[in-house]
């Protein structure tokens, strides 16, 4: 590639290295694999740099490549399937069809001070145990600050699906972190209050139908 394109790639795409590496770490849960994944993604991005549309989000473009590279090269190995299945099994416990409206248990109102007492390592471990699609959506939304539209582009799905994945991912994370806080004695255990919530629960189908396209 000529020097101008190289310069442009280095000044536009390479500054996203930390972001891509962070996401790769959360996806692979392994620093060596994360490095390989990011390197592969960058090589692909460089080879196809001429196809990047100027004026569009380079971050969304790179994350798309990262995700596709991950799926192509790493996902087939079916690593960590057990952990994923285990957590997926917890979803029904979070609400009917992972109801979108309300928590089905009265977890005390989240507290900023509590977040400060949970270590970064614990937060990342919790994030890594969330099912992959939810995890990716939460990473892109909350760690990388991408808009719904960009996440939909990266994950190749409708915006309604993006919202639902972020929602479920965050609910799982909240549950995991809250459980952890309870273990440490930092928070009160949740008390079930299904009756009060049942009248106010909005089901996922309603949510999807009303979701912004």
């Amino acid at each position: 590639m000529n020097p101008t394109a190289r310069h442009e790639f280095e000044s536009t795409a390479l500054p996203q290295l930390d972001a891509l590496y962070g996401a790769a770490l959360r996806l692979t849960r392994n620093s060596a694999e994360a490095e390989d994944l990011v390197q592969d993604a960058y090589v692909r991005a460089y080879r196809f740099w001429h196809t990047f549309k100027s004026g569009t989000s380079v971050r969304a473009w790179l994350f798309t490549i990262l995700r596709n590279t991950f799926i192509n090269r790493y996902h087939r190995a079916n690593r960590n399937r057990a952990a994923r299945t285990d957590l997926e099994a917890q979803l029904p416990a979070l609400g009917p069809e992972a109801a979108v409206g309300h928590p089905n248990s009265r977890v005390p109102a989240p507290d900023a001070a509590l977040a400060a007492r949970i270590t970064r390592e614990r937060i990342m471990t919790a994030l890594e145990s969330v099912p992959e699609d939810y995890r990716m959506a939460v990473i892109l939304a909350d760690l990388e600050g991408l808009a719904y539209k960009e996440i939909a582009e990266v994950m190749d799905c409708p915006i309604g699906t993006v919202m639902s994945r972020i929602y479920r991912g965050r609910r799982l994370l909240h549950k995991l972190l809250h459980d952890h806080a309870v273990e440490l004695g930092l928070a009160e255990p949740a008390s079930d209050d299904d009756e009060a919530v049942a009248t106010n629960t909005v089901h996922i189908e309603d949510y999807r139908q009303r979701g912004r396209a």
């Binding site: 442009e8 790639f9 930390d18 390197q39 960058y42 409206g101 989240p110």
Partner: protein, 333 residues
């Protein structure tokens, strides 16, 4: 209010809760949800939970890629550069996993990086001029002020590849390919007197946080496929001469094409509207010389909770726009 009423109201709002949390609603819907949350404890709890996770993750310290990884990637790029066959082969084989790989009619993009005469057939002289301008702008080899380039690009886009007004600027851009990388670094604030008339808006004081390390034009785009999209200029925000990851994007269309909304303020004698994007990025609207600018600051680590001129991100944008306006006024006879 009966339980039935509550349920129905929640149903109506349910689809808006998630975009509310993520700041993806318009002002009206945002207010509607906020009003509902005031009255509905369960919905409020759901939103608080989502907010809490979001805020917790946003506060987490980011990972840094090992320096060795960067070196490995750069070495890979070198290897690809030295083996064009491999690069070509890669480009012509599978596009799997690469978004948007269909050929497109972006003249500037297609011509990117061709430093010598190339076999690409250009549809017209002006599209070639646009492509060259875009390349010049991307590489930071900008002799003329960015605003002049932008205005040129804009008119080229709007008038079907025929620049109608700032032909002198285009000419200057074409004939002055000297490298002046420091030209776009922000200089000290100028004292040029403002030309626009203040209206009955909030008059704000100069921002206290002047542009830290300045900005550098890294990228210019003209929507030659759709003239209504106008042009956009992308600037990296610098600190100590290095990109901070933040970027200012100056979208330009014909004034009046899409009336902007926002909080009106006057700064430096010029009128602006402060707004935020769907994701909370600060936005500044202003008009000058028949061109409507929408300037967005992307990549802020801590997004401003609302559009206020004294918040750092907004004062940064005001300062940025003020400089551009004065720069343009200075070059107009």
């Amino acid at each position: 209010m009966s339980l039935e009423d509550i349920r129905s109201e929640c149903s109506d709002t349910a689809a808006l809760l998630q975009p509310y949390v993520d700041g993806e609603l318009g002002a009206t819907e945002q207010e509607r949800v906020a009003a509902h949350l005031e009255a509905c404890r369960p919905c409020r709890a759901a939103v608080q939970e989502q907010h809490w996770v979001r805020a917790t993750l946003r506060a987490v310290q980011r990972d840094q890629a090992p320096a060795a990884l960067r070196a490995r990637i750069v070495a890979e790029l070198d290897a690809l550069d030295q083996d064009p066959a491999a690069s070509q082969a890669g480009a012509s084989t599978s596009h799997a996993g690469i978004p948007g790989t269909l050929p497109h009619a972006d003249g500037g993009r297609a011509a990117r990086g061709n430093t010598h005469p190339h076999p690409v057939v250009r549809p017209s002289l002006w599209s070639r001029a646009v492509a060259t301008l875009a390349d010049v702008a991307r590489g930071g080899m900008v002799m003329v002020p960015a605003s002049a380039v932008a205005v040129g690009l804009f008119f080229v886009a709007r008038e079907g590849m025929v620049p109608v007004e700032p032909s002198a600027n285009l000419g200057a851009a074409m004939s002055s390919p000297s490298v002046h990388p420091s030209r776009k670094q922000a200089d000290a604030p100028t004292e040029t007197s403002p030309s626009a008339k203040p209206k009955n808006d909030l008059v704000v004081a100069p921002p206290r946080s002047p542009m830290h390390g300045g900005v550098q034009l890294v990228h210019a785009r003209v929507a030659d496929d759709d003239p209504h999209k106008g042009a956009s200029l992308h600037y990296d925000v610098l600190r100590d001469g290095r990109p901070t990851g933040q970027r200012v994007v100056d979208h330009q269309v014909s004034a009046g094409a899409r009336p902007p909304s926002g909080i009106p303020v006057v700064f430096g004698g010029h009128r602006y509207l402060l707004d935020q994007t769907a994701v909370g990025d600060p936005v500044l609207h202003y008009e000058v010389g028949g061109v409507a600018h929408m300037v967005v600051l992307e990549g802020s680590l801590a997004r401003s909770p609302s559009a206020q001129p004294d918040l750092p991100d907004f004062s940064f944008l005001l300062d940025f726009a003020d400089r551009n306006i004065k720069e343009r006024a200075a070059e107009t006879p």
